[in-house]
């Protein structure tokens, strides 16, 4: 433990909108889709994309249009 009280110091980022894929290839596929890529703010890892928070319905609809059946965690 690094803190004097024995608790680990962390930064908390709340209300973050993300897409997580089961494989890196799927994330690549999403990034290659122009209509979806414009809502992607960044790639946090091979399988996690940071998404604009205000366009949930549009992004989910686009995922479905691509043939995915995303699990939506609200």
């Amino acid at each position: 433990m690094t803190s004097s009280r024995g608790r680990i110091p962390v930064k908390l980022h709340k209300n973050v909108t993300l897409i997580r894929t089961s494989e890196p290839l799927l994330a690549e596929e999403l990034l290659a889709r122009k209509t979806l890529a414009r809502y992607v703010l960044g790639r946090l890892s091979e399988t996690v994309l940071l998404i604009q928070p205000d366009d949930s319905d549009v992004v989910i609809e686009e995922l479905r249009r691509m043939g995915h059946t995303p699990r939506v965690v609200r």
């Binding site: 930064k11 980022h13 709340k14 993300l18 997580r20 996690v48 699990r71 965690v73």
Partner: protein, 598 residues
């Protein structure tokens, strides 16, 4: 009221307000009742306390505190019972109307209209209840104090204001039926036709699915956007004619929407600009009581009516709502073996209340029944004018009894063996909804009512369905046809809908296997499993939390000591980040938050 009190009052407040004219009840029926009392003259309040049994000269009669005293006195069931025991039959009948429709308010003109149809002198009856404080007259914009009830009734009649009932009455009053006997009652009948009552439940489940997939958008005034309205009106399942109604049901999609809002199957979101499907739990919680909830919602519904024609801004003065309950209460005067022809019932109503079928409470054609001033206090003329004796609308009672009430399973029809006329009576469900009979026996059912076909179509026999199973199937199979034959489709979207409503691939297949007459085709099993598994390929987090560590080592230490709980485990995103679905699952007794970003 026995049956009326058994189901939860699930009307959304906004819907209650719009549909049953309960504008002042935003803060709750009891507060609205008390607030209306506070508009009375103090001497009037003292009169009410005295009428309730307070001894004259008692120190407890404190005019300034009387609204509270009256309200609190009626909060006591024993006091209410004692007062109700003193009432005339007509007044008990009036209170029954509130309890049966689970309403705490009515338009004064509407109550007046209903009592007239039930053969009860309206003014005397309403005044008797006002005198005892069981009803209170409420003006939205009236500045004068209420001091003389007949005059107040007249003013309320003209302004479409409300009478409110003390909310404790519903749990105490028993259903009272009209005292008179219907003419032309017959007993020898044949060819009895009775609906299974499933039609509205099946269609409501289809509506629930549609709105679950795509919520309805509405304006601040509660009006649907044109595109969403058309989506419902053009849906082949929702807009199709009711298959078991003996008369056409007007605008089925609008009826379903109004019913769904009344029973809480769809609800406005917090912002009020969308209508959302209720959580799946609704079906588990309410399956048993659904027929009664639907019937009660229908009886008090104003936003939709049986006869075609736009209500527009005259919703609050629609008269059909009061005819529905009056017609059922007249049928309730029949014994189990007795039937009556709708024509005879219509003639009976005409003799009692010539304008019984008026579409709006404020129609000029019924001015004869609106209070007329005769010198001092107003009295109500009962002599129908020429206008009031206009040709009847013969179909309205048919549309109510043979159309909606029959499809809801409240009324059954037969043929009189003597005259060969069509006659009607209440079903056991109808008597139960009116709190006049026991709960109807459960429908006989059989487990294997489904055909699961390789083309992903499910054919269902109505006979095997229960309300609970309708809800269960609606989670993951798409209603494609509702009629004598039922068809559901399995699609990728419907399976996703099931997953989002708590199902798993295994539970969905279990349901299909349990109720299918033949083994579920392999391709269907594979597809359901495949569709469900693909859902885990992509996860969308609308508002997740990311925990950022200073190093990978600290992340690993935190992960290793993460407390076990029923919440989802954190997910490793990168060397220094963990993803948590629920911020409340973060163990801050082990982590120290140095900063936070939203």
């Amino acid at each position: 009221m026995a049956a009326a009190s058994q189901s939860p009052s699930s009307d959304p407040p906004a819907e209650r307000r719009l549909d049953s004219g309960q504008a002042p009840t935003e803060a709750g029926p009891r507060l609205a009742y008390r607030a209306a009392l506070a508009r009375y003259r103090r001497t009037k309040l003292a009169d009410i306390r005295l009428a309730q049994g307070m001894q004259p000269g008692s120190a407890q009669v404190r005019p300034a505190a009387n609204p509270d005293e009256i309200t609190e006195y009626l909060d006591r069931p024993a006091a209410l019972r004692a007062l109700i025991a003193r009432l005339s039959t007509g007044s008990r009948l009036a209170l029954s109307l509130f309890a049966l429709t689970e309403s705490t308010s009515m338009r004064t003109a509407g109550l007046y209209h209903a009592l007239g149809m039930l053969g009860v002198p309206p003014t005397e009856t309403i005044v008797e209840l006002l005198d005892l404080g069981l009803l209170v007259i409420s003006f939205e914009s009236e500045l004068r104090s209420v001091d003389y009830f007949p005059a107040a009734i007249d003013r309320s009649f003209e302004t479409l204001d409300l009478v409110l009932v003390h909310p404790g009455v519903a749990s105490v009053i028993r259903t009272t039926t009209p005292a008179a006997r219907l003419p032309g009652v017959v007993s020898a009948v044949s060819q009895v036709r009775e609906a299974d009552g499933l039609e509205p439940i099946l269609r409501l489940s289809a509506l629930w699915q549609r709105i679950g997939i795509e919520p309805l958008r509405q304006t601040q005034q509660g009006v649907l956007y044109k595109r969403d309205r058309e989506r419902l009106e053009e849906d082949p399942v929702l807009a199709a004619p009711f298959s078991d109604a003996l008369e056409p049901v007007n605008d089925p999609a609008a009826l379903l929407l109004a019913l769904a809002r009344r029973i809480g199957l769809i609800e406005p979101d917090p912002a009020g600009d969308r209508l959302l499907a209720a959580p799946t739990q609704f079906w588990d919680d309410n399956a048993v009581h659904l027929p009664q909830m639907i019937a009660t919602g229908w009886m008090s519904m104003q936003r939709w009516q049986e006869s075609p024609g736009e209500l527009l801004d005259r919703v609050n003065s629609a008269g059909v709502r009061y005819l529905r309950i009056a017609a059922l209460l007249w049928l309730a005067t029949l014994d189990d073996s007795e039937w009556v022809a709708i024509d005879d019932l219509a003639e009976h109503l005409t003799n009692l209340w010539p304008a019984w079928d008026r579409p709006f409470l404020t129609d000029d054609s019924v001015e004869s029944q609106v209070p007329k001033r005769k010198g001092g206090p107003r009295e109500r003329s009962r002599a129908p004018s020429v206008a009031a004796r206009r040709p009847r609308e013969p179909n309205l009672l048919c549309l109510i009894l043979r159309g909606t009430a029959h499809s809801l399973g409240l009324v059954r029809e037969a043929e009189d063996r003597g005259s060969h006329r069509r006659v009607v009576q209440l079903t056991p469900l109808g008597r139960y909804v009116l709190a006049l009979g026991p709960s109807p026996p459960p429908r006989p059912s059989f487990d294997h009512f489904l055909f699961v076909q390789p083309n992903f179509e499910l054919i269902a026999y109505r006979q095997g369905l229960t309300n609970h199973l309708v809800g269960r199937l609606s989670r993951f199979a798409w209603w494609a046809q509702i009629g004598a034959a039922l068809q559901l489709n399995l699609t990728r979207e419907s399976i996703l809908h099931g997953l989002e409503n708590g199902e798993t691939a295994a539970s969905m297949l279990d349901t299909l296997r349990k109720h299918s007459q033949r083994p579920v085709p392999h391709n269907v099993q594979d597809a359901v499993t495949n569709w469900a598994s693909r859902r885990e390929d992509v996860t969308y987090y609308a508002a997740a939390s990311l925990i950022e560590f200073n190093s990978q080592r600290e992340r690993d230490v935190a992960l290793a000591s993460w407390p076990a709980s029923d919440r989802p485990d954190p997910i490793v995103v990168s060397d220094r980040f963990l993803l948590v679905e629920d911020e409340h699952s973060v163990p801050f007794d082990r982590l120290r938050q140095t900063s936070s970003r939203d």
